[in-house]
């Protein structure tokens, strides 16, 4: 055996690029395919031509429709040959060509003949080919044969039919469902793989029937399952049953746990692993339940097979997120994996160790990681950096060695994403660990001295401007910042100028020196840099300019823009140059929230359903314009907020009405948007009669009827109420639509005589959230701290049994009607606690910030609500909203 092998290696040098398909060309092969039409077929030659055709397809070559049809018809001729080898290639070729429906008919009879052949290989393959290319209509014809094939004594034929059944189930479920009895029989088959395929198909057929799946699992876990693959399936289905039953079972022993635990002692590794993984993923798994699974995974860690080590360490890594203590036993095995040849395994081992490590092991661990970092890819490095960040937050005392580590890797080579992960981590450490501030800022300064990423440089400069002036020796940062003005591109230079100005504003001692530096920037080659320098010199009061008051300067430099950028842009575009300067307070603050459905649709192609319904204008600007054009409302002052439309009728009723609530300081205006959906009617003098007996603080002041409401042309009627000034009054209103109906004949003329009629609408409520504007803040933490705790109120609430943590979080956000900040409205799956940050402006232009801390135990949710605002009574009011919600 060894002899010819060596020889082969010798002559390979001469023909290194040798391939039997060298110089192959599509046109020539298609010509060759004519041999398929020869009256005297040469099976061997035909096989070779098919192989060449398949080679072309495999290399990515495509056939035109005409070419494919020609080849297909030629191939069908080959069914005449009795050569089994050729027949096998014909099957393969037909599958690759995926013929069209009218072509399929040509081969159907040949394939059906093969399905009834005595040769097992013919039967098995003909079933697979026919089921792959056929459509629903033909299925009914062959259904009988397929049912027989499922219980065929030849396992290959049975498997072919069962696997085809799984495919057909996706398109023609009703047909496959009729095979249940046969499939059930096949589940009992003695052939290992038939049982596997039958089990898969049976579960697919019954997956929506919980009871049936539960019965299947119960009977099989007691019976014999022959192949490891089938055993893996059964473990998955068992977990599914456990998942679904745990929702209504009381405490006590978990059903089927014993079965999973027994599978840990199976002889096949794939079954052991499947069972171990299933146990770790049980919801609310106890440490007693976990122990045996962890033990087998630990054994896998020292296996000689990389796949086994990988599978084990990946699973343990996931367990470490929720049950770090359960994994600590594996730490010694895990540490030896840090030097694993396979870098995926090494990275998973490190991140697991970082999650489970204790304070004393940090230093040793960091040493090991340092050696390892240089030879892994960026994507792994990012994972490690993130793990180190959370470790540091867990053990703040260890910040020194962790910060050192971060600064070291920051100096090494790396791509943008990696560097960004490091910078983000340092920034978070600086923010959360006060002791780490000075050294962290210093590392960042070092980094921007030689940073190729403009984005990171500007981010760091911005951060430096906020944090640097508050350190013990702000002057030492100036050098790094001014170097940027000299050395960098315009974007970075402009950021550096802003940062200098911030130092100048906060540190009086540095002011004169900052002025010198800023004046030099006046000669910069870039407009933006010069403009900024001029602006800051003016605002800071250099050169005897009349400076702004100190408070204004600081607000200007440090507060984030409190209007949404989109709104500012629209307002600026609408502003016409005139004597009157642009007033930033005229920019609307409401963040336009898109309906959820619409948000999901973006990114995909615009679906008909996702398109916003045409109708009355819905933006704040448009509302303001509409309302100010109505004289009765002009005395109400500035519009504070307009709600989203609330439907007052069911869909597809005669008259469709929704309402928008417009909130003013001392008034509320209901705008009823009405649509008449009856072509034969014209409505006149349309009003809404509002009964406010359940809204004591409100008093109707004016009602503005709609003169006519023709078919399918929406119109508005308004009702305005007075309410106590600045008070978030709430109440319930019942509504009746009143109008005069006139019949419209086919020519479109309305009768002269109308009939008075009325139409009951649904009730409408004014709720506290109507008095809250969704206004976000860029940096919640800064805003929270600068607000101070003068008007803070903190309290705890039990929210009772909730479906999930996420549901509880979104319910509270909705009740308050505030803007979630920093993505905290998203609750990660399976978390047991969550923090949510909200911001808003309450009526009377009072800024409100809210911190919510949620915890879930079982399904009981508790919440700590901290409110800060500029007014104690508002902080109390927010608590009242939650207490009454």
């Amino acid at each position: 055996m060894a002899q010819p092998l060596v020889k082969k290696d010798d002559d390979r040098d001469d023909e290194a690029d040798y391939s039997p398909f060298l110089g192959i060309e599509k046109g020539a092969v298609l010509q060759e395919a004519r041999v398929f039409n020869d009256p005297q077929l040469d099976p061997r030659r035909c096989s070779q031509v098919i192989t060449k055709l398949l080679y072309l397809l495999n290399q990515g070559e495509t056939f035109t429709k005409v070419e494919a049809t020609e080849v297909f018809f030629a191939v069908t001729k080959l069914f005449q040959s009795k050569d089994t080898g050729l027949r096998r290639m014909v099957y393969l070729m037909i599958k690759e060509l995926s013929p069209s429906a009218d072509e399929v008919i040509i081969v159907t009879s040949s394939l059906m003949k093969d399905m009834n052949s005595k040769t097992d290989m013919y039967r098995a393959n003909a079933i697979r080919v026919l089921c792959r290319i056929t459509d629903g209509t033909l299925l009914t014809q062959i259904e009988r044969y397929l049912k027989q094939a499922i219980v065929d004594k030849n396992p290959v034929v049975a498997s072919a039919a069962l696997v085809s059944g799984v495919h057909i189930l996706q398109t023609n479920p009703e047909i496959v469902k009729r095979w249940s009895n046969e499939v059930q029989e096949a589940v009992q088959s003695r052939a290992a793989l038939v049982q596997f395929h039958a089990l898969a198909l049976l579960h697919q057929i019954r997956q929506n029937d919980r009871l049936a799946v539960s019965k299947l699992v119960t009977s099989l876990t007691r019976g014999t399952v022959r192949s490891p693959l089938a055993q893996c399936l059964l473990i998955r289905y068992t977990s599914q049953v456990i998942r679904e039953s745990s929702q209504n079972s009381q405490t006590g022993d978990r059903p089927f746990y014993d079965y999973l635990e027994a599978c840990l002692r199976h002889k096949a590794e794939m079954v052991i692993f499947e069972a171990a993984r299933a146990i770790t993923e049980l919801s609310g798994v106890t440490s007693r339940e976990l122990t045996p699974a962890i033990t087998v995974l630990q054994l896998f860690l020292s296996s000689s097979k990389p796949v086994l080590r990988f599978a084990a360490v990946r699973t343990l890594n996931k367990v470490a997120m929720t049950h770090p203590l359960a994994v600590t036993n594996c730490n010694i095995d895990m540490e030896s994996l840090i030097s694993d040849q396979n870098r995926s395994i090494a990275t998973l081992a490190i991140t697991t160790l970082l999650k489970t490590g204790n304070e004393s092991s940090v230093d040793r661990l960091m040493k090991q990681i340092t050696n390892f970092m240089s030879d892994i890819a960026d994507e792994f490095k990012i994972v490690v950096v993130e793990a180190i960040r959370s470790l540091c937050l867990k053990f703040p005392l260890k910040y020194r060695s962790l910060m050192n580590f971060l600064s070291n890797i920051l100096r090494e080579e790396g791509g943008f994403e990696y560097k960004k992960a490091i910078v983000d981590s340092i920034v978070i450490l600086i923010r959360d660990i006060p002791d780490a501030k000075e050294s962290g800022l210093f590392h960042l300064c070092e980094f921007i001295e030689d940073c190729e990423f403009t984005y990171l440089s500007t981010q760091i400069l911005h951060f430096l401007g906020n944090e640097g002036p508050k350190t013990s020796d702000p002057s030492k940062y100036i050098r790094y910042i001014y170097n940027r003005v000299i050395l960098e591109n315009p974007t970075v230079r402009a950021s550096a100028v802003s940062t200098l100005a911030k130092f100048g504003a906060l540190v009086d001692a540095l002011k004169p020196r900052i002025f010198v530096l800023l004046r030099r920037c006046l000669f910069d080659s870039d407009d933006e840099v010069r403009d900024r320098a001029t602006l800051y010199l003016n605002t800071l009061g250099a050169d005897g300019f009349v400076g702004e008051t100190e408070k204004d300067v600081k607000e200007f430099l440090f507060d984030s823009l409190d209007v949404p950028l989109v709104n500012l842009q629209t307002s600026l575009q609408n502003y016409e140059p005139s004597e009157e300067p642009f007033d930033i307070s005229s920019v609307p603050r409401e963040v336009k929230t898109q309906p959820l459905a619409e948000k999901k649709a973006t990114g995909k192609k615009p679906a008909g359903l996702g398109a916003p319904p045409s109708g009355p204008p819905s933006t704040v600007d448009a509302y303001e314009k509409l309302l100010s054009s109505i004289s009765e409302f002009s005395s109400f002052g500035k519009l504070f907020k307009s709600s989203a439309p609330v439907e007052l009728t069911e869909a597809e009723t005669e008259y469709a009405v929704n309402v928008v609530k417009h909130i003013y300081d001392g008034h509320v205006v209901f705008q009823y948007n009405c649509t008449n959906t009856i072509p034969t009617q014209l409505l006149e003098n349309v009003t809404v009669f509002v009964d406010s007996s359940e809204a004591e603080e409100f008093e109707e002041v004016v009602s503005k009827p709609l003169r006519t409401l023709p078919y399918d042309s929406p119109g508005q009627t308004f009702v305005a109420f007075g309410k106590p000034e600045g008070v978030p009054a709430v109440g319930k209103f019942s509504n009746v639509l009143k109008f005069i109906v006139k019949e419209v004949d086919s020519s479109g003329e309305a009768d002269d005589d109308g009939v008075e009629d009325e139409y009951q609408l649904e009730d409408l409520e004014v709720v506290p959230a109507d008095y809250m504007l969704k206004v976000g803040v860029a940096n919640f933490r800064n805003a929270w701290e600068s607000m101070g705790d003068d008007c803070e109120r903190v309290d705890e609430y039990g929210l009772g049994v909730r479906e999930s943590l996420a549901e509880a979080v979104s319910a509270v956000i909705n009740i308050l009607g505030m803007q979630p900040c920093e993505g905290t409205e998203n609750v990660p799956n399976n978390s047991r606690s969550h923090n949510c940050l909200l911001s808003g402006v309450f009526i009377g232009n009072i800024r409100v910030l809210v911190r919510l801390a949620f915890g879930i135990d079982g399904r009981q949710v508790a919440m700590k609500l901290s409110v800060r605002s500029e007014d104690q009574s508002i902080s109390d009011a927010i608590h009242d909203i939650v207490a009454n919600g």
Binding site: M1, L5, K8, R12, S19, P20, F21, R44, S47, Q48, I50, T51, L54, N58, Q59, G60, D83, T84, G85, R87, R88, M89, L92, M121, R128, R132, V156, S159, A160, V163, V166, H167, Q170, T171, L193, F196, A200, H203, Q204, Q207, P228, L229, C232, L233, R236, Y237, E269, M270, F273, E274, S304, K305, P306, V307, L308, F310, A311, R314, N342, S344
Partner: protein
């Protein structure tokens, strides 16, 4: 119809089987998933997975990596690189058993001279072999000799049963005939 969306997790599915040469070029590939809809998408996946794994030593034991949210198990023999890809939640050991079956079957079919040249000379056997391992993403068979047996039985004229000839004998005739004529 996208099999993978519907039956995700409820049963093991294979996303693709790749056999590449030592430069990352295709010898034979088969995709079972719509995750790579175009030829370009497929080629770029092959290119990245090849680049990511080429420096590793996957000659004695099958190796494994996470890549773009897929699990890829792989093994190298001579100038051939075998890959099997599954979803990120797939049982790694099941994927490894498919890879092992693929690799064992090819070894039997090529009579242990597993290299690119022999593979191309017997491309029909390779393609039939892949066809017998996975059908539309569903695992058909993972035992190497069973797979090879199914493929080899086709090479014998007149449907003679395996017991009459050994697999390797049967293959020898089939293989040599094809190789010669392709060389012409």
């Amino acid at each position: 119809m996208n099999l993978h969306v519907i039956i995700q997790e409820s049963f093991p599915t294979i996303k693709n089987i790749l056999l590449l040469d030592s430069e990352g070029k295709r010898v034979a590939v088969k995709y079972y998933s719509d995750d790579w809809p175009t030829l370009d998408a497929k080629l770029s996946f092959e290119k990245s997975i090849f680049a990511k794994t080429m420096k590793t030593n996957a000659r004695t034991e099958a190796e494994i990596t996470m890549f773009d949210d897929y699990i890829v198990v792989y093994k190298f023999v001579q100038d051939l690189h075998f890959f099997v890809t599954g979803g990120s939640e797939e049982n790694e050991l099941i994927l490894a058993s498919v890879l092992q079956g693929f690799y064992d079957a090819i070894g039997l079919l090529l009579r242990n001279s597993v290299d690119k040249r022999t593979a191309l000379e017997n491309l029909d056997l390779i393609l039939l072999c892949i066809d017998e391992i996975v059908d539309g993403g569903i695992i058909l068979e993972t035992d190497g000799s069973a797979i090879a047996g199914k493929v080899a039985s086709n090479g014998i004229d007149g449907g003679a049963s395996l017991s009459e000839q050994t697999i390797s004998q049967a293959l020898a005739t089939a293989r040599e005939h094809l190789a010669r004529s392709l060389l012409k």
